[in-house]
Amino acid sequence: MNDPLLLQLLTGITIGLGAGYLGAFMVLKRMSLVGDALSHVALPGIALALLLHINPFIGAFAALTIAVIGIWTLEQRTNLPSETLVGIFFTISLALGLLLTPEPELLEALFGDIAKIGPADLFIAILAVGITFGVMSYARKGFILSIISSDLAKASGIAVRHIHFLFLMLVALIVALGLNVAGTLLMGSLVIIPAAAAKNLASNMFSYTWMASILGGVAAGAGILLAYFYNFSPGPMVVLAGGVIFLLTLFSQNTRL
């Protein structure tokens, strides 16, 4: 894997596929902005990883795991909606992260820099995306049923709370991965935009989830290529490529009034 562009492309596309697929369920769960806010929670983790000279993914994932456990526990014990809790964690973490991150690395942490990744990052991406696909396929029925009616899911014997926790952990995993590509500020778009575009096109769950995944991969690949050839920063280009795909899907039959 000596070609840096190929490495970036493979890693970016793998992350795009996973983010699109998981994002499809997040959009249905009305958690679109949770991914966005959670990505900011990763900032203090990235900062600590940079200070300790370890892979930023590990720091980001550790910070996100702590946040997810905190949010999930508070959700069970208080009546506050996850939106509010994520909002609280998000702002506190952002403040902490901004204080902790060394200034030269701040821009990289905020916007991501896929040019800096190594083969280990591709390996981590393949493993994490594989886990995401595996878990989602295994618990697919429970996920879908708990989205359409948690009462119906519980009455059917599905452990809705555990499923929700599992889902939040997958979100943490994918968000931590995506930070390499899009950074803490733009990561949310990697999960939201492909799913929103797929929703404009698909008429059933199967085509919706796979279309979101493929569009996520296409946006990541196209963004990285455009950034490489026109010398732009890859993160914003990936987001813009996703945006163009979304705009094109607006002309589909599903969205006509």
């Binding site: 249905l28 029925k141 879908i144 049923l145 989205i147 359409i148 009616s149 009462d151 119906l152 519980k154 009455a155 059917s156 929703k199 698909a202 008429s203 059933n204 769950m205 199967f206 085509s207 919706y208 599903n254």
Partner: protein, 231 residues
Amino acid sequence: MAVNHLSVRFERDVLKDVSFRVNRGDVLAIVGPNGSGKSVLLRALLGLVPHEGDVEWSGNPKIGYVPQKLAIEHTFPLSVREFMQLKEPSHEKIIELLRSVGLGDHDSYHLHHHILNQRLGLLSGGQFQRVMVAWSLADHPDILLYDEPTSGVDVGGEETIYTLLDKMRRQHNLTLILVSHDLNIVYKYANTVMCLNQSMICYGVPQEVLDPAALTKLYGGQTSFYQHHHE
């Protein structure tokens, strides 16, 4: 099933000291104004909300449940086929279930293109209720809890969904507990009625307990009821 002194409290009392029994093959209709705790009672029976008091089931019956609504809007990308597959993997059995609830009256082209491949959120109110009944019957429940939607099903549609539930009850030897807003339905299909407004106001055979005094207490004001007969 025996329910003893069931109470549910969220921020205020939602259900207070409700006790009743349901025997195998019974049709119990629960009536009451909006916010009287009807849906909460069904959810408490299923163990979905914290409650005081006992809910005792004899044996270990399988319980089917049709909630009042699902969290789906018309763009929700879930087809009827995929919804049914959440419970029943066999295509043939899905077709059989949908036909049994009256959704396959037309040719199989209609069933495949306008029902099976249709998004759940795009069905008409009546079709949606039928799909929900088919879904709840897929794993052969002994008892079905049916929470009637407050809107979206026209009067004609409501009538036929109850005819269907009654037919299913006979065919599958079901016990039915249903929340209803229409007293005509109660007279026609239920052998027991419970009037509920946080606490139990009346309970018994509809023709005996649904008197003007009970209805006034239940709905307030000058409520009266004209029972018309369906042929």
